[in-house]
């Protein structure tokens, strides 16, 4: 490996610069650390050096963190521990220098990069918006292993440190200054001059003391500075962690255990324990799976089909929204939040008012959480105009339709809309299951038309399913991808077919839950099967959230388009007839009251509920999972999506499929293709139903002795 770290001396100021010419960003590989260490030694041995500055030659990046490939490759606890210790020793070396050391953060300083900065005596950052400082290791199922769990609480106090490490929080320069994580913010423009002034100040020990006397105040200080406070802080943090991770993620618990023990301990002891904990976590399945998810989400964050690579996406300035319901209001909100002008059209003022209320509610929450000032919220709301006709649509760059899920209505709306917008305006439908190709017939210019499937609630759900019709142009796809990304969300490309991707897989699963229910499995057991697996909510609770009317409608569409395997479970039809739709009607599979829910006795009495022995749980859960995997395989077989990663990202971001399983198809690979086929065949024979017939795609994988992910697993 080439030279990635550079050293130079200017009078009495030494600078170590990270600037790997081979890479876009700086990462701390073992080799980079070794080079860095050599220069630390050089500065140490040079009596002329009065100040050591550490900075980066990369634009908008200080150091992005440790090398994830290296972390992924660690396969024994021992190696993990030694890797951590290697870095720890180098940062100790840095910390122990007798001269002042300054980290200059003009961009991303995450993980190991942040830990390096923490080992310096001073940290300054610039007003660059790209400055992001934090320790997000917990997101990868590990913990900061280069001294971060020890140094951060000493700098910020235990309360703040726990919040950052457990929450994998990444803070802006301004916030970092407020909490004392950095000492100064300097303008990027005159950085060198500002830095020079700063260096002169810290060279003089009297000035140094006066300028950088750190003191915390108030309740936080009380909690941070006495043993009772510590107990309370850890207690509270442990409660939060248990609630958030439900025990599925070992690393936050490990962080708590570790920091409780180390933050009063001497450095040597603390770091030894940290390295041990790191080694323990880094070989775990959860860590390996979360790294897979990291790669996946990184990939889809930027991914472009090659046909779009040379196209310049249209910059959307104004967007029309048709229909001001829950989705329409949510869509209007997110568009205006990202500084687009919005025109919302509906058929009466009451509907428009509801849409505005929905948008205003989200902005108000942001104001309450201090993410935004009231005047900013007013300005954003003013970007949303409402209308009963097409006034203001003529110059819209795009229109997103979110009217009722009814093909005839949607077609009518699009036919009308086509007459009122520019020829080159993009037309998107937020349908969750209706055929995009059929709808395209109603549109003037089908090449500019595609599906744009947001998930509910719009401002929270990070996924948008983009559905391409037969005539959708690559330019339209490029425009849509850019729009989704501008809204901070991840797009996946799906070919038009019944239920698209996410709802097709999800409805197969919910329907299977229906079959289990009519076979007598209690409602709460069915949901528990899946929450125990890590799903955020069980299938029947999910149905209650969305409404059975919506689910059953999609099931009929799927049945019509894909065959009898999607025939709605009898029990669903019965429940639907009784109008027990879910939350919206007060009761569904559960009776919903303020403060809680309980399984609906009416429904359970319809299906001869009997208790289930715990030994049966695995088999029942397998049915729910396998029916999804089998359907996902069919999606790949039908070329609805081009690769398994799309399904995994979609399921994680769109349905909350547990990331620690690395996604549905990663899970399938771990389960083993031949085991899956055996189990499917077993269910098929036992239940005598077709829906468990293994997909050809699965059989092929089996023949080729590979997994969904090219046999790597």
């Amino acid at each position: 490996m080439g030279k990635a770290v550079f050293y130079h001396l200017d009078q009495d100021v030494a600078t170590i610069e990270f600037n790997d010419p081979q890479a876009k960003v700086n990462v701390l590989t073992a080799d980079v650390l070794r080079q860095f260490n050599a220069f630390v030694t050089q500065a140490q041995n040079d009596a002329k050096v009065k100040v050591l500055i550490i900075r980066s030659g990369k634009k908008d990046v200080f150091i992005a963190g440790a090398d994830i490939k290296e972390i992924e490759g660690i396969n024994t606890t021992d190696i993990g521990m030694r890797k951590a210790q290697y870095g720890q020793n180098i940062f100790n070396h840095l910390e122990d220098l007798n001269i002042p050391t300054v980290a200059v953060i003009d961009g991303v300083a995450l993980g190991g990069g942040c830990e390096l900065a923490l080992a310096c005596k001073y940290r300054i950052a610039t007003f660059n918006e790209k400055v992001k400082i934090g320790l997000p290791e917990v997101n990868l199922g590990i913990l900061p292993g280069f001294g971060g769990t020890y140094r951060l609480p000493h700098l910020l106090g235990i309360t703040q440190a726990l919040t950052i490490i457990l929450g994998a929080k990444v803070v802006s320069g301004g916030d970092a200054l407020k909490m004392g994580l950095i000492d100064r913010l300097l303008p990027q423009v005159n950085l060198d001059e500002g830095l020079c002034d700063f260096v002169n100040q810290i060279k003089d020990s009297a000035q140094r003391k006066a300028l950088f006397h750190r003191r915390s105040k108030g309740l936080k200080s009380f909690m941070d500075n006495n043993p009772i406070g510590h107990v309370l802080v850890f207690e509270q943090a442990a409660r939060n962690v248990r609630q958030k991770t439900k025990g599925f993620y070992p690393s936050p618990l490990k962080v708590l255990e570790l920091m409780k023990e180390t933050f009063m301990a001497p450095r040597e002891k603390a770091l030894e324990l940290e390295a041990k904990a790191f080694g323990h976590l880094v070989v775990g399945d959860v860590c390996k799976n979360l790294i897979k998810v990291f790669y996946l989400t990184e990939h889809y964050r930027k991914w472009m089909p090659p046909q779009c690579a040379d196209l310049t996406p249209r910059v959307i300035q104004k967007c029309g929204v048709l229909g001001a319901g829950v989705m329409g209001g949510g869509i209007a909100q997110i568009l205006s939040y990202y500084d687009m002008n919005v025109r919302v059209k509906d058929i009466n003022f009451d509907a428009l008012a509801k849409g505005l209320q929905a948008a205003a509610k989200i902005f108000n929450q942001m104001v309450q959480r201090k993410k935004m000032k009231p005047s900013q919220a007013t300005a954003k709301m003013l970007k949303i105009g409402t209308t009963l006709d097409y006034t203001g649509f003529a110059d819209c760059d795009c229109v997103i339709e979110a009217v009722v899920e009814n093909m005839e209505v949607k077609k009518k709306v699009f036919a009308q809309c086509s007459q009122n917008v520019a020829k080159d305006a993009l037309l998107f439908t937020n349908t969750s299951a209706l055929s995009v190709n059929e709808m395209a017939q109603a549109v003037n210019n089908p090449s500019r038309f595609m599906g744009f499937h947001f998930f509910n609630p719009v401002h929270r759900m990070p996924l948008v399913e983009l559905i391409t019709g037969k005539e959708t142009s690559w330019q339209t796809i490029a425009d849509a991808l850019a729009l989704v990304r501008r809204m901070g969300k991840t797009p996946i490309l799906v070919k038009d077919s019944p239920g698209f991707l996410i709802n097709r897989i999800l409805l197969a699963y919910i329907n299977e839950a229906g079959f289990l229910l009519q076979e007598g499995v209690p409602v709460s057991v069915i949901d528990q099967l899946m929450t125990d697996f890590g799903m955020p909510v069980g299938p029947l609770a999910l149905s209650d959230e969305v409404g059975l009317d919506v689910g059953i409608k999609v099931l009929y569409i799927l049945q019509q388009g894909l065959g009898e395997r999607f025939k709605p479970a009898e029990i669903f039809v019965k429940v639907f007839e009784r109008k027990l739709l879910g939350k919206k009607s007060g009761s569904g599979f559960y009776v919903h009251r303020t403060g809680g829910r309980s399984p609906n006795k009416v429904i359970e009495s319809l299906c001869a509920i009997k208790p289930v022995a715990a030994q049966q749980y695995k088999e029942l859960r397998d049915r729910l999972l396998l029916v999804m995997i089998n359907e996902a395989a069919r999606c790949l077989e039908d070329k609805i999506v081009d690769q398994p990663g799309t399904i995994d990202v979609g399921m994680i971001l769109g349905t909350g499929f547990p990331p620690f399983h690395a996604g549905l198809l990663h899970y399938a690979d771990q389960y083993g293709i031949s085991n899956i086929i055996d189990a499917l065949n077993f269910f098929k024979e036992r239940l005598g139903v077709d829906r468990f017939t293994p997909a050809d795609y699965l059989k092929n994988l089996h023949l080729q002795k590979t997994g969904f992910y090219s046999g790597k697993n």
Partner: protein, 424 residues
């Protein structure tokens, strides 16, 4: 010199103080009208050379409110803006200033208008309380804090009401209603006459409800976004002479005649208007509503501010080389019924014309041509916005009825009168 075209205009409904728009700021109201005017006209905002808005009670959170409006309505940051204040004629002043700027070659297309949120006029601290609070703020130790606190007296907490102060003339000490009473006594105008005039205003406005909607945007007011306001909410379809007669005089308890019923309403609202040079309008393919033919402002005695129009009208007619007979429609703002009636009486008087050198210009005002769609008594008088509203209402009326000349006039608190002649 090139003619000044009024190309398009739009306003919010006018809503009584403390009603539907009470939580909306003046800048927000104006931004709605600007945004929707841009949408409806289809004119690209980048063509606007400058923004001029009239506003009287300038909100402390929107210094130079015109600029705030420009930015809030999504105009390019490069478009400059400034605010004008000629009290009740601020909404005329913005249009007139736009005309002068265009005629001087400084601009070709100006977004003008007026806005007022009288619901949001502040309550102010007394001077004593202000002093104590600022001392308290500066006090560094407990003793000096305590010293400041012990100086507090209950009477210091009585708020000074911004609206009341704004409606009081600081030179003669009379509030606007009291100046109206002065005219009532001087011109011998009875309570009955005033109430009849007020009743007619409501009836005309009620009959014109649908017509007036043409100049309005339905607005779903923030921050609750409950229900749309589709028209002015001060108009009383059911207003009766008996109900009006029951009201007590406010400004002179015993011998007064001016009541809440025969005065203009205190109101929130905003108006936006496109003012262009005739050639620019052609270039941008805009069909003007009409043109600004002449305008004038005169000063009168502050205690008789309501008589302003009787002086402004003959002067603007003279400027335009016209007489009252040439005018096909006339709007005199109904600050007070008595004040309009006093102006009419003065204009009909030969003595008045002779005294001030207006002979030949004035005469009987045909009541059928006056305030045909009702006035501020029914619609309300958001002070900064009214002037623009009168111009817009008049031009729409002229277009509906194929009239070629119209005259708009207002009395102005502080003792002025303004008048504008419009043609098409």
């Amino acid at each position: 010199m090139e003619r000044i075209a009024i190309v398009a205009g739009l306003r919010t409904p006018f809503c009584k103080m403390g009603s539907a728009f009470k939580d909306m700021s003046a800048q927000e109201l104006a931004a709605y009208s600007v945004r929707e005017l841009l949408q409806r006209s289809g004119v690209d905002a980048k063509h606007i050379d400058e923004v001029i808005f009239g506003n009287v009670g300038q909100p402390s959170d929107a210094a130079n409110i015109a600029r705030v409006i420009a930015v809030l309505s999504g105009l390019p940051f490069t478009t400059p803006a400034f605010t004008v204040n000629r009290n009740c004629a601020s909404g005329i002043e913005s249009v007139v200033t736009a005309a002068l700027k265009i005629q001087s070659g400084e601009a070709q297309f100006i977004l003008a208008g007026g806005t007022e949120s009288m619901s949001n006029y502040p309550f102010l601290f007394t001077r004593q309380l202000q002093d104590i609070l600022s001392d308290l703020n500066r006090a560094k130790d407990f003793v000096s804090k305590l010293k400041a606190i012990v100086r507090l007296r209950p009477s210091y907490y009585a708020p000074r009401i911004g609206l009341q102060m704004g409606l009081t003339d600081p030179s003669c000490g009379l509030n606007m209603g009291q100046t109206a009473e002065v005219l009532a006594k001087e011109f011998g105008i009875t309570r009955q006459e005033q109430d009849d005039f007020a009743l007619l205003s409501h009836h005309k406005a009620a009959a014109a409800r649908d017509i007036l909607k043409e100049e309005m945007i339905p607005l779903i007011p923030s921050p609750k976004y409950k229900a749309a306001v589709e028209s002015d909410n001060g108009v009383r379809e059911q207003q009766t002479r008996e109900a009006l007669a029951k009201l007590k005089p406010i400004f002179d308890k015993y011998s007064g005649t001016v009541t809440a019923g025969n005065s203009s309403q205190v109101t929130d609202g905003a108006v936006a208007i496109f003012v262009m040079s005739e050639s620019r309008a052609k270039q941008l393919n805009c069909k003007p509503l009409g043109y600004l033919k002449a305008f004038t402002v005169v000063g009168v005695e502050p205690a008789r501010m309501g008589i302003g129009p009787a002086h402004a009208i003959p002067r603007v007619l003279k400027k335009a080389k016209m007489t009252l007979k040439d005018i096909q429609a006339i709007e005199i703002n109904e600050a007070f019924a008595v004040q309009v009636l006093a102006c009419l009486k003065a204009m009909e008087s030969n003595q008045f014309a002779a005294d001030f050198g207006y002979s030949g210009l004035l005469g009987n005002v045909d009541r059928a041509l006056l305030n045909v769609n009702g006035g501020a008594i029914a619609l309300g008088h958001p002070v900064g916005a009214t002037g623009s509203r009168l111009i817009l209402t008049m031009l729409k009326h002229m277009n509906r009825n194929q009239l070629s000349t119209g005259l708009v006039s207002l009395c102005i608190g502080g003792g002025q009168g303004a008048a504008v002649i419009l043609e098409r």
